[in-house]
Symmetry: C2
Subunit: 144 residues, 2 copies
Amino acid sequence: MIEGVILAPLKRISVTKGDIFYALKSSDAVYSGFGEAYFSEIHPKEIKGWKRHKRMTLNIIPVNGAIGFVLYDNRPGSSTYGEFEHIVLSRNNNYQRLTVPPGLWMAFYCASNDTAMLMDIIPEPHDPDEADRLDLSAIKYDFI
Amino acid sequence: MIEGVILAPLKRISVTKGDIFYALKSSDAVYSGFGEAYFSEIHPKEIKGWKRHKRMTLNIIPVNGAIGFVLYDNRPGSSTYGEFEHIVLSRNNNYQRLTVPPGLWMAFYCASNDTAMLMDIIPEPHDPDEADRLDLSAIKYDFI
């Protein structure tokens, strides 16, 4: 796994009337403060990215469908410099929380036939200047 | 509206690849701290409740389907003592955040043909002793 990235299985409590899904607790080791929670949908065959946060750690939870995450590490001095990581999360098949430290490039795509959705909890309210963006073609990766 | 309950429209940013949905920011007036975020599903024709929190304020966001919330105020001294409130939220038709102060009884039901899901952000990690529960029949309400 790329240095600093944490993947944690999340509890799902089976309830006849409808299940409960854990997402994040303030007592979790990866919790780094609450600034904002938001949802992002991704339609079939679409890819969002590349984006790199300067300060913020992301805590991402799969809500609907399946989402493929691609991380790229070009942090100087990182033990995983130059590496890519590919992770597919889904509420029903792989319900885990993905923690992404600042400094990594990330793109994500819809890995299901229906529109997918993630939740992200970030330690400060969204600020457009806090992230760098690149065209998909700028970092070569064979997404599909 | 029952005293202390706040309903706030939430921004949805239209994006070709998949929309962004606001949920909660630390700068929102209703934000009362982060203890945990979790999801709760509710299957068609099911009702979860009654439940009353002793300390915690809930911040509830509709994620999938439609959810009907019924609030009942039996707080002594409340200006809305004895009143019920019925609110239906849905990501697509009524995307609002429902803030429920402690002391109110709440039940919720699936108001869509498919399983519905809400997200709740609470100011302390879940503690079973922090809430009171009653059978559905204990507070008379004609849900469906």
